[in-house]
Amino acid sequence: MFDPIMEQILAIARDAWAFMAGLLIVVALLGGLYYVLQGTAGAAFGASRMTSMAIIGVVGLVIIVLFAFLFLPQIGELLHKFQPKAPF
């Protein structure tokens, strides 16, 4: 009964997922570029703290993106596995 509506909602949700995943990649690439610029500038004029902060930032960004693309699908699988039948 609700299948046609569900298909429409899931199609919109899939499009939104693809859009947000693309946006996340763009933001991560821009952030990575910013940190690389910060790191090289720091290395050029001898600001070791600036360089190390930039390296930590890049590592953090990579961890966040990996978390999004590896952890979230697992959460989805988990919720899908837990999806209960109607309790009435």
């Binding site: 009964m1 609700f2 299948d3 509506i5 569900m6 909602i9 899931l10 949700a13 939104a16 997922w17 947000m20 995943a21 946006l23 996340l24 933001v27 991560a28 821009l30 952030g31 910013y34 940190y35 930032g57 953090g60 960004l61 966040i64 993106v65 978390f67 999004a68 979230l72 699908p73 959460i75 989805g76 919720l79 899908h80 837990f82 999806q83 209960p84 039948k85 109607a86 309790p87 009435f88």
Partner: protein, 160 residues
């Protein structure tokens, strides 16, 4: 009466399955929205955004687990406390119909509250977990009231 009951309960069951499927989809969207916020916040140096998003992510997971593990258990518990038939004849049939429908409607209302909260989180709003819990509490209170009303109605309208 039995045919009408089974038709309405089937309708509610299908609505439950559809809502649960949409809930998973929006949970994932909410998750990626919060991750996007974390990444942009960390690049911009906005610590508050990062912490808000991390706590929102935790609340999304808790809300998902509550919706899929907690709500069915609450509904089972309340349905077992609902008296099925308090008399005989039409009152008995009406009692059976009412107890089935009350359970189904309360379960759907609780899942709808959790879904609304998750939808709000997926569009970047605050995850209104407290509102979902309040609505679940209202549904539970309604079921408790109904469990008292059915025997009373059977008593006043006639028992065998």
């Amino acid at each position: 009466m039995n045919a009408a009951t089974s038709l309405m309960v089937t309708f509610l069951r299908e609505a439950w399955v559809a809502l649960a499927g949409a809930f998973i989809a929006f949970a994932l969207l909410a998750g990626i929205a919060q991750i996007l916020r974390v990444s942009s916040g960390s690049v911009l140096g906005a610590n508050l955004w990062v912490w808000e998003s991390i706590s929102a992510l935790a609340s999304i997971i808790v809300l998902g687990l509550f919706a899929f593990l907690g709500i069915p258990q609450i509904v089972h518990a309340l349905q077992s406390s609902l008296p099925g038939a308090g008399g005989c004849g039409p009152i008995s049939e009406l009692g059976t119909l009412a107890s089935g429908l009350i359970g189904g409607l309360a379960a759907l209302r609780m899942l709808k509250a959790a879904f609304t909260s998750m939808f709000s989180a997926s569009i970047g709003g605050s995850s209104t977990f407290a509102k979902a819990l309040i609505e679940c509490g209202e549904a539970i209170f309604g079921m408790v009231l109904a469990s008292a009303a059915i025997p009373l109605a059977a008593f006043f309208l006639g028992t065998c």
